[in-house]
Amino acid sequence: MARAVRAGNSRIDLIVLGAAALLALVARGLPPNLRDPVASSMRTTFLAPLVMLQERAEASRRSLLLDDTRTAIRDSVSLRAMTVASLEDENDRLRQLIGLGSRLRWGFIPAEAIHGRGVRDVTTMTLTSGSNSGARRLSPVISPEGVVGMVITVDPTMSEAMIWTHPDFRVSAMSGDGSAFGIVQAHLASATTGYLMELRGIPFRSSLKPGTLIVSSGLGGVWPRGIPVGTVLEEVKTSEGWARTYLLRPAVSPADVGAVMILRTDRVTKGFENVWTSVAAAEAAAQRIIVAGDSAARDAALAEAAARRAALDTTRRGVAPGTVVPGGLPPELLPDTLLVPEGEVLPQDTGVAAAARREAARRAAARRDSLRRDSAEQRAPRPSPTRGN
């Protein structure tokens, strides 16, 4: 009996096996145009979660494999990003130096400035050019912005320069227009004012306005004429009654000095008046344009406000819009005094004159708008004054 049951079961198992194998063979024998829909229907229905899991797992594996590469790339990019700011600064300074070099044309020795212990207390710096390159004692050291200092000791390959923050540094200077002469030295009065200069010995009759450019006068024998030293900030009250003293914002901040130029003696004797002139003139012109634009915009705004007030008054008095009135302007823009009383007739303006006035008004408005734009653009990129940290 049991053997019969087992035999029956075995037969059923074989039948099921055969049926399953037949089904599988049928699936295997399906033409390609039927296989894809069958497989696709399974993938998009009950197998969808498993397919999604497999996709995620494969993506994770790719991420793991690429992780080292990505980390290396990220580190490289971070490292480069850290140096970008300093490279940009260096690039700017070198561009300025190249520009100065092209203006000087000859007679200068390029050098790198090596700072000493710190920034705040720096009064001297080492330069990477020495007597082999042509540097001599008392040779002026300049940067594209202006006066840096002068060479005090010279080695064959290196030299040491006293920069303008040194207590012993002096340079004979004058205002840009040559109206006042004095001596510039470091301002040592207060530690809180940072790196500033003093212009001493200005005659009492000469008054300098804030913002006046101070350049070397060429009277001392060391510095040639025309190199920017600084700009006037304010007058300093001192006990000396016979002369004025002014506080200057230096043209060169000691902390920003990197690449400099040492002027050769023969170049010094030739003068430098045309080297910085264009830069100073451009700055002055830009300043004047800004001031003019601001005042023009202010006038235009006042006129516009007055016209609005007049228009409001006119509306209140019941003048119909579009009425032809003298001057060719619409009644909304006329002041009250020009309004014509009812019943009174004034001589009519000619059409040509009215058109000319309208055109003038349109041009004035356009000029006003362009002045506003210019002054806004001029204000935006202006650098803040450098105060040597």
Partner: protein
């Protein structure tokens, strides 16, 4: 087989299917371990050969759905392996780790032989290389994974008495 055993076996089955679609692609080995085949073998030893064949057919179709060109090859291979595993359970699934490892190894190798022959995609030396090199390696990895699974989940994997 009572309800608890069935539930435990079902859990193990689902876990292996899950691992097949997560751990296997994550490892990305050239000779991968086949968790679907492990699921089939561990299920087949608990059921009659006919049911084992049907489970093999279902799992084979599932695995073939991701390779439409080979649709049916995996189904045939798993049907045969499922039937044979169920039929041979009394021989192989004794309480012996080595026998169990051999069981998994032979099951995977047999599956690969049937699969690659029926699929008829590769031939010649490439087929020989696949069947004599990569398939045994894959079978060994599968056997290793199966043994680890048995050791970790021994209480849940008590086979039904034949």
């Amino acid at each position: 087989m009572n309800l608890g055993t069935t539930l435990r076996a079902g859990m193990i089955f689902l876990l292996l299917v899950f691992l097949h679609y997560t751990l296997r692609p994550l490892l990305g080995w050239r000779a991968p371990m086949d968790f679907l085949l492990l699921a089939l073998l561990l299920s087949a030893i608990r059921v009659r050969p006919a049911i084992g064949a049907l489970i093999g057919l279902a799992l084979g179709l599932v695995s073939d759905s991701l390779t439409p060109d080979a649709l049916g090859a995996g189904a045939i291979a798993m049907t045969v392996v499922g039937y044979l595993a169920s039929w041979l359970k009394a021989v192989f699934f004794a309480d012996n780790i080595a026998l169990n490892a051999l069981f998994f190894f032979l099951g995977k190798w047999l599956f690969d032989v049937i699969y690659f022959v029926v699929e008829n995609r590769i031939g010649g030396i490439e087929l020989v290389q696949q069947l004599l090199l990569w398939s045994p390696l894959s079978a060994a990895a599968t056997a290793l994974a199966g043994i680890l699974l048995i050791l970790v989940m021994r209480p849940l994997l008590e086979p039904a008495r034949a």
